[in-house]
């Protein structure tokens, strides 16, 4: 197994308040290709901050972050944007689909991001493949306002998958969905891991977490592996 992500001693301190607050305290985590990891914890425990650091939205104050064996903890923003485009796919609790665009155009947003240029025909092919992977290719021309919550989240997953990311980062992707629809969304995310994509899922849902390869608890900024389920 190839190690995709290796965090060691990641610390993040929230400044700008009367007393600085440690959000992440020496976090260590490894994720291999095709592996799925669930991160669970109470609200405010630092789950989203950890995902921000992993997704290069934010930088750690201390610690080492290796992606594909390269140290990237102190990466300039321009290179970080490039890595976000080439290595990561993001799925959020809210779907963040643009209402004025069709499903296909929303997915294509990840391809029209200034990181290389794909001709229109190739873009179209890849967008339809991504929508097909999550089972909604027939909705390519539909606008988000005409779709159900589950369909919208699957469009968001297709957007995350369209660039063939190495790691999928999902921040409570089922939080706004009913149980049945949430299960379908987790199915779609796990299907990606079968193609070699790593998955980090932040969730409150024990059932969804139980479907992941590993579960980590984040308590007061400290990450601990709970049990190896599979």
């Amino acid at each position: 197994m190839t190690t995709l992500i290796a965090l060691d001693g990641i610390t993040k301190v929230l400044k700008g308040q009367e007393q600085p607050r440690t959000i992440l305290d020496g976090v260590g985590l490894t994720v291999d290709a095709g592996q799925s990891v669930a991160i669970v914890g109470r609200s405010g425990s630092g789950k989203s901050t950890l995902l921000s650091v992993i997704g290069l939205f934010d930088r750690p104050d201390q610690g080492s972050y290796q992606l594909d064996g390269q140290e990237i903890a102190r990466l300039p923003e321009r290179r970080a944007a490039k890595l976000r485009s080439s290595h990561f796919g993001f799925v959020f609790q809210r779907f963040f689909l643009l209402k004025h665009l069709t499903a296909a155009q929303n997915v294509a947003m990840a391809l029209v991001n200034g990181q290389g240029w794909l001709p229109r025909r190739q873009r179209r092919t890849r967008v339809l493949e991504a929508l097909d992977q999550v089972g909604i290719a027939h909705l390519a021309k539909s606008r988000p306002t005409k779709m159900s919550g589950g369909e919208q989240q699957r469009v968001a997953i297709a957007r995350a998958l369209v660039r063939d990311p190495k790691v999928l980062l999902a921040d409570e992707p089922t939080g706004a969905l009913d149980t049945e629809t949430g299960t379908l969304v987790i199915d779609a995310l796990l299907a990606a891991t079968e193609r070699g994509c790593g998955l980090i899922l932040v969730t409150h849902d024990r059932d969804h977490a139980a479907r992941m390869g590993r579960i980590h608890d984040l308590v007061d900024g400290v990450l601990t592996e709970r049990v190896a389920v599979r």
Partner: protein
């Protein structure tokens, strides 16, 4: 280069999507900007039309820019030399002027001294070596004109506008009865005093009956008639043209680099005269005046444009505020900050360009309507075309407004923290 091209295309595609998604906002931006761009286009069009009109008048009276002009001393030897030197040449034309009275025989002209009809330059005078005294006789149906004899077609240097009839034909053999082309002032005078009669020129062998063949606009307020030099010299010796008592004038117009100039200069020097030669530079002479005029009008247009920029800036900031999540999401999927700024700038630039197109179209249509309505009464507006400079100015104004109005929203969009999507 390829990366830049990809970013440029990406920003254009996303910018167009943004415009299509927010048509009403785009329209509001365009409305606020429209008056500003229109002001710039109108000012530039007005300045260009005024400049052309001004230069056109200067070209008629002084000649095209670059024309070499030589003012000649009034001497018989010079007159003979000049007539012989420029004979048959097209790169140099001699203009020799004398006074002529056309109309009822034996009477004094209604405008002594070839004065404009609405001006009184005093009584007709007779001058000789001793002095001048009032001419005997009474005023009658006769008009005094400045008679300008031409050795060739002077319109190559001074583009007289034909009002009616035709210009002098230098390709035919000279007629015994001189053909005259009048200027507007002379034509107006002969409209009031219609006496088909003789033309009297001091020192002529006989009073001849002239033929009026056309009227031109030469920009001169004084009644003037143009005649072929070879037709006039059939009746009038060149020595009389050089007679200062007849108010003679002599000028040579030449193309730049004409070989006639050094020849005439040498000959004049041999005759003991120092010629005065200069180059017509109407545009340069008027540049200061035109620049000042432009500066004043552009300052006003700039103020109006600034108000338009404030409008587009206001709408742009509001739009970025509404699209915080979109921009944060775009950053999350790898869009660099520079492209986010590019998207906003592309939208405002496209809006500016659309507005410029609308303003240019409106200005061109307006000019067409004005030309149709008042073109006949306002010569400056007859046959006037929409100046391309105004179109360019409009496009530049639209682009500048787009950049100014979009700059701050673009910075704000580029600075939206990516974690916005995580906290939503």
């Amino acid at each position: 280069m390829r990366r830049l091209s990809g970013r440029f295309r990406s920003s254009l595609i996303i910018g167009l999507q943004g415009i299509r998604a927010r048509k009403l906002r785009t329209l509001l931006s365009m409305i606020s900007l429209f008056l500003g761009v229109l002001a710039v286009v109108v000012v530039q069009a007005g300045a260009s039309i005024a400049e052309r009109a001004l230069l056109a008048d200067l070209e008629i009276t002084q000649g095209y820019d670059g024309t070499r002009v030589m003012d000649m001393p009034m001497e018989q030897a010079s007159t003979d030399m000049l007539a012989a030197t420029v004979h048959g040449r097209s790169d140099a034309v001699a203009m020799m002027g004398v006074s002529g009275i056309v109309g009822e025989p034996g009477v004094l002209p209604v405008n002594p001294g070839a004065a404009p009809l609405d001006q009184d330059w005093g009584p007709a005078m007779v001058c000789n070596d001793v002095g001048c005294e009032p001419a005997p006789g009474v005023k009658g149906q006769a008009v005094e004109v400045r008679l300008t004899a031409l050795s060739g077609d002077v319109r190559k240097f001074r583009p007289f506008r034909t009002v009616t009839g035709q210009w002098l034909d230098f390709s035919k053999v000279p007629a015994m009865s001189p053909k005259l082309v009048l200027n507007r002032a002379a034509a107006d005078a002969f409209n009031q005093y219609r006496v088909p009669a003789e033309m009297r020129v001091g020192g002529a062998a006989a009073n001849v009956t002239p033929q009026f063949v056309g009227v031109v606009d030469d920009g001169d307020m004084q009644p003037r008639a143009y005649v072929r030099l070879d037709e006039l010299t059939t009746w009038l010796p060149t020595s009389r043209m050089a007679d200062p008592m007849t108010g003679g004038e002599m000028r040579l117009l030449m193309s730049p680099g004409s070989p006639v100039e050094p020849v005439v200069v040498s000959k004049l020097k041999a005759l003991g005269n120092e010629p005065y030669v200069y180059t017509v530079e109407s545009r340069k002479d008027q540049e200061k005046q035109l620049t000042l005029m432009r500066l004043v009008f552009f300052s006003m247009a700039g103020l109006v444009l600034l108000i338009g920029v404030a409008g587009i800036l206001n709408v742009g900031l509001a739009t970025v505020g509404e699209r915080v999540e979109e921009f944060a999401l775009r950053r999350a999927v790898g869009t660099p900050r520079s492209l986010l700024a590019g998207i906003v700038l592309a939208e405002t630039l496209l809006t500016g360009l659309l507005t410029a197109a609308a303003a240019i179209g409106a200005a061109a249509a307006g000019l067409k309507v004005v030309t149709m309505l008042v073109g006949n009464s306002q010569p400056i507006l007859s046959d006037v075309q929409f100046p391309w400079e105004a179109g360019i100015a409009g496009i530049i104004a639209g682009l500048v407004a787009g950049v100014l109005g979009g700059f701050i929203p673009a910075l704000r969009a580029a600075g939206i923290p990516i974690a916005t999507v995580m906290r939503a």
